[in-house]
Amino acid sequence: MNQTSSWERLRSNRNWLGFWFMLPAAAFLLLFLVYPLGLGIWLSFTDSRIGTPGEYVGVENYEWIIEDPKFQTAVFFTILYTLVASAIKFAVGLYLAVLLNQSMPLKALIRALVLIPFIVPTVLSAVAFWWIFDPQFSIISWSLKHLGLIDHNINFLGDVVNARASVIFANIWRGVPFIAISLLAGLQTVPASLYEAATLDGASRWQMFRRITYPLLTPIVAVVMTFSVLFTFTDFQLIKVLTNGGPAGSTELMATMSYNTAILGSRIGEGAAVSTAMVPFLLAAIMFSWFGLQRRRWQQGESND
């Protein structure tokens, strides 16, 4: 009697009902997110290799990678890559969004065209850049040579500075549409009446952008930039195809290094440590955007939090 009644309660209670509805989603998350992440973290504490389960070795893998010059280079370049690419993507994306928000002929078509770099599969665009940055057949080198501006081919991917700049450029090209279109959607939620009022008050275009557009856009900016930073930080395909981390590891990202170590080098434990080492950075990025950019003060122009 008692048991059936508690089962009845579990079945019909409104609070428990919420639990039942949540269960499939929770199971999904546990199975496909928590389990792999947990397994990855566990593996990073073992000396597992492909074919052998490995034994617990404590933080040995972390001790090793922290002192590994190749890992240090990878961390440095991953941060540089993320910061530079995200900043430029944001600036260009915002500019494009504001531009596309103006009324102009063929608006819909132009907006669709802007999305193209985002639609093309990453590997495909990476292969296109591969040709653009080719040491012998680069279209850029060829054009500049024919214009008489340079007398030898540009060493796009063979020189450390050039290689880093080139892969960052490719990432920006690919990432801008996502930001531009998302911000454009945000721009369209800004009520036109605010602009009308500002116009009556004699505000300049810059003032309107600074005092109306930007503050109202911040919540979207926070979300979009969080995603953009996460995507950039965990980028893999572009680097894998363009340079495979070369020359001599100078464009290695933590993601490519993790793959090379764990799958190609078959040292799963060490590779897992490299990828687990990405988590604190990603968490920091998320914290920053949610607790920094999301503050109401920023959104509403008030001084209280």
């Binding site: 010059p69 012998q136 030898h152 796009f156 495979n244 020359p247 590891g249 190609l264």
Partner: protein
Amino acid sequence: MTERKFTRRDALKAGGALAGAGALQAAHLAAFAQAWAQSNQWKPEKGAKLQLLRWKRFVQSEEDGFMALVAAFTKATGVPVSVLNESLDDVQPKASVAANTGQGPDIFWGLYSLPHLFPTKCVDVSDVAEYLGKKYGGWDNAAQIYGKSKGRWIDIPVGYNGNVINYRKSMIEKAGFKEIPKDTAGFNELMKALKAKGTPGGFALGRASGDGNAWVHWALWAHGGNLVDAKDKVIINSPETVKALEYAKELSTHFVPGTASWNDSFNNKAFLSGEISLTNNGVSIYAAAKAGAGKDPKMKEIMEDMDHSLWPVGPVGKPTEFHICYPMLAMKYSKFPQACKAFMAFTMEADNYNKWLEASVAYITHPLAAYDANPVWKSDPKLSIVKDCGRRTLTAGGLGSVGEKAASALADFVVLDMFASVCTDRASAKDAIAVAERQARRIYR
């Protein structure tokens, strides 16, 4: 004139494998296959079907030859074989994941020491290897090293891809040389002269697992440097390694710009477009030039002007070449191990293997002595040097074991990055060696 004659004959031969004589050959293959199936000692399981994952071909006629062989096997034994192709660099991760999870294709055909990454997961094929060795004049040394783990054969090394020097005859002649010098010092002079004439050559310094590894290991070994000794002790920090790095650095100053970004296909493209005079590669550039010669006069010119050479010998006084090995392994999780063994044995039988060898127009070199007699080695003097690649090659890991540690060091580009960082001025020889030594110690602990 003589060259034109060779060309025509070759074209006929290569084409014949596919088109004209194709039907005839298929009939012959089928007849042999049926007879073979009768006497075959590895009877495929009932209802067996195989899945095979191989490296993606570089020479079309090679793949066609292989598929003909697969078809003949199916006809004779009734075992269907589906063949998957993956690019060279992707075979290893796929095989590793399959070995770890216990499911995937039955047979993997990859490169270097792939089976040694997971020796316990490979079907013991000692009986197949011994049968073939006895029948076809014995396995060469490198094949035995690549094939065996702890005294048992864990794979069948089906062949090598000879990595040789490809050069333009007219260009080295203009630079004052008749042939590729036989020693490393002379070779440096040649590269210098080529650059001075405005027709530089170049070797890949990017992360090119095939061509890049081939040339830096040659340079390292030629000067007596080694990553590890015979007991797998790390000995990279040596005056010999410094000498090798200094030599490579000097050599790389004569390269065409941009080799630090080259992967395995950049040099093929550059050579075929006439941009470079010399590089290291399999004979696939020649095959591509030949294939295009009919339509494109530029290809014809390159085909006629180019030739191959073995690598110069360094201060150690013996060849230190590093050719790719293509081992074929069967996974223990396969439900049809006998069928796998039957397929491997079938592949290496003379009636099949000879044809495939011919179809691959010297892109593949045999590991069994009896195939020295294959007509492909006499068909074209430009290809005949590749015949000895199996006998000349050193193995992954150098003096050390060929196992997963060697594979790991190759996958991590320990040696390649050491050379690349010195050649691109990112690090001094001393610092680059220190990084490599540290990494190698970890891998070989």
